[in-house]
């Protein structure tokens, strides 16, 4: 089991760290969105009327006949109305509407948290489905690593209470590895498992399609519920939907009758068969009654008389699977739990990172410390740990520095931000090859400086500094700035500690030579 742990560990830890790091950031994806798109920083609005805000906007638009329009309700973490539609040419658009005035917000062109970090988390920014398979394989490897790790460390409770930071670096790193692994052990197993379940039809496409004559699309269609139209269009033009608020009220009263007062509100409203006589409305929420299981919980309304014609409820096994997927997606509103996810995610990062560092430092003792291969392997580990953190902070800085209305022919603004991320990441690797062991310390200092600059740039470009955001209860921005500052302090502390270690080891070397 030991060799399996080592073999999978070194093969997958670089990818696993990147996936865990971006996954941990995605826990606060909507907060990152608000930080990177300042137009989203709007106070929460109660009693939004879609009839007053969205229907006038839809009337202005030239929509693709028979397409679907999706309207995201404003939420605590996303205070604007999101409007997804297709224009007459079939091009997809996404808009943010002010929940009170209905004004179309001129959002900063950025992929931010819910697009860039989120997608990187499961596809590593690789086009197509190759990324799914790499991340899936890594998730399986992680489950194997957790199981083999338990085999190796049978004295798990004893080790859990052992942490000797004053001992030799290598010993301390291993203690840290064991501590962070055990403290969130169920999390480290359930997260890769539930992640695999989300994309399970991509991993067993042939097997799961066997009952459907080999056509996986039939299964996908069954599971996706009413994301696709269920009422055939009449293929003759008709009036647009006259009201959305009434449908929302009706869906709410249906849900309240079933689950009692105080149950969860709708998250999305969809209009299907646009511009057709048989246009109809679906009201959907992610979670029934504040549960973990990720819906889809939908009510479909008849186009003729506006009565409910169907309510989609997942079958038992589908619901069990949704529960596991739901605890991976963490779309529920529960702040303490969200913070626990964040901390468990960080503990996963530390577990993976310390495992990698432990392996490298023990190999270097045996190998020639100056060999090129040692240099490269060490540089890979530095770039994959401090490097990706620095690149992420650089991504935030780039977002604040690139002018909002920049107009380049060759490249979109959001792509420019992403390229900055990858450019900085590549630079940290080159830096680590050149500077060897000092690279750890120097990149820690770079993270500290960059983080403070990011917070300062947020202040300069938007006027929202920490005292102001705390005073006005703009929690998303206050959380972002505080976490970035904590990141700066941690990086500075680590850098100073590494510097002291280096000086001590130099003194030892001098005294031996002397």
């Amino acid at each position: 089991m030991g060799w399996l742990h080592t073999c999978f560990g070194i093969t997958f830890s670089v990818i696993l760290f990147a996936v865990f790091w971006t996954g941990t950031l995605t826990v606060f994806d909507k907060e990152i969105d608000q930080w990177m798109k300042p137009e989203l920083r709007i106070p929460i609005t109660d009693n939004v009327s879609l009839d007053e805000v969205v229907l006038p906007r839809l009337a202005e638009l030239d929509l693709l006949p028979l397409s679907a329009v999706w309207i995201g309700m404003p939420r605590e973490r996303v205070p604007v109305i999101r409007l997804h539609y297709k224009d007459a040419n079939g091009k997809a658009h996404e808009e943010g509407l002010h929940p009170r005035t209905g004004e179309v917000l001129d959002l900063t062109d950025s992929d931010a948290g819910s697009e860039f970090f989120f997608r990187f988390h499961f596809m590593l920014h690789i086009p197509g489905i190759l990324g799914y398979y790499i991340v899936g394989l890594s998730a399986l490897a992680m489950m194997t690593l957790v199981v083999s790790g338990i085999f190796i460390h049978r004295k798990i409770f004893q080790e859990f209470f052992t942490f000797r930071p004053q001992k030799k670096t290598r010993r301390a790193v291993l203690d840290f590895h064991n501590l962070t692994s055990v403290v969130a052990l169920p999390f480290h197993f359930i997260i890769p498992f539930s992640g695999l379940l989300i994309l399970i039809t991509s991993y067993f496409p042939w097997s799961m399609a066997v009952p459907f004559e080999g056509d996986i699309k039939q299964l996908d269609a069954k599971l996706a519920a009413y994301e696709k139209p269920v009422i055939k269009p009449a293929n003759e033009p008709g009036d647009p939907v006259g009201t959305l608020d009434r449908y929302i009220d009706r869906a709410n009263s249906i849900w309240r009758a079933q689950e009692g007062e105080g149950t969860s509100d709708p998250d999305w409203v969809a209009i299907f068969n646009v511009n057709d006589a048989k246009t109809y409305v679906v009201v959907e929420r992610f979670f029934a009654n504040h549960r973990v299981a990720l819906g889809p919980d939908q009510v479909v309304f008849d186009p003729n008389n506006g009565e409910m014609i169907d309510q989609f409820k997942p079958l038992p096994i589908h619901a069990a699977s949704n529960w596991l997927e739901g605890l991976h997606w963490i779309q529920f509103d529960h702040w303490p739990l969200r913070w626990l996810y964040f901390l468990a995610g960080l503990s996963g990062c530390i577990m993976i990172g310390s495992g990698l560092v432990f392996w490298i430092e023990s190999r270097i003792k045996k190998a020639q410390p100056d060999a090129t291969s040692v240099r490269v392997v060490r540089a890979i580990s530095t770039a994959s740990i401090t490097g990706i953190i620095l690149a992420s902070v650089g991504f935030l800085i780039a977002n604040r520095l690139i002018p909002k209305n920049i107009n380049l022919d060759a490249i979109h603004r959001h792509e420019l931000e992403i390229w900055t991320f990858f450019f900085i990441w590549a630079l940290t690797f080159v830096h680590a090859v050149v500077r060897e062991k000092s690279a750890w310390r120097e990149q820690c200092f770079a993270i500290a400086i960059a983080s403070v600059s990011a917070v300062a740039l947020n202040w300069v470009t938007t006027g929202d500094h920490l005292l102001l955001t705390l005073g006005r209860s703009m929690w998303s921005i206050a959380i972002m700035d505080s976490v970035i500052l904590v990141c700066a302090a941690t990086a500075l502390w680590s850098g100073l500690r590494l510097q002291r270690r280096l000086r001590e080891s130099r003194n030892v070397a001098v005294s031996i030579e002397g």
């Binding site: 399986l140 067993f204 799961m208 599971l223």
Partner: protein, 96 residues
């Protein structure tokens, strides 16, 4: 063959069998569950999801078994034989 080379060969064999044989075996289990349970009255989409949910755990168990087994050759033969049987049998079960 030296002892080191022998152990390297054994480890490579265990890993390859765990990864490829393990996938074939778990894909077989998924297919058999997906195609078989509808005969006992389960809805098709439910049996497919149940198969998928168990598939990854089966895959994990096979990898661990291949690594830990004291008789890796015998384990490989069992896994491959069962995998072929299930992969051939499942589509037949779906058509019956």
């Amino acid at each position: 063959m030296s002892k080191q080379a022998e152990s390297n060969l054994s480890r490579s064999l265990r890993l390859i069998m765990g990864a490829l044989g393990g996938y074939a075996f778990s894909a077989g289990v998924v297919a058999v569950i997906a195609a078989g349970l509808p005969h006992f009255g389960l809805v098709k989409s439910e049996s497919a999801i149940l198969g998928g949910m168990l598939g990854m755990l089966v895959y994990l168990s096979i990898i661990i078994w291949m690594v830990a087994s004291t008789k890796p050759i015998r384990a490989s033969i069992v896994i491959l034989f069962a995998a072929v049987l299930m992969l051939v049998g499942a589509p037949l079960m779906a058509t019956v």
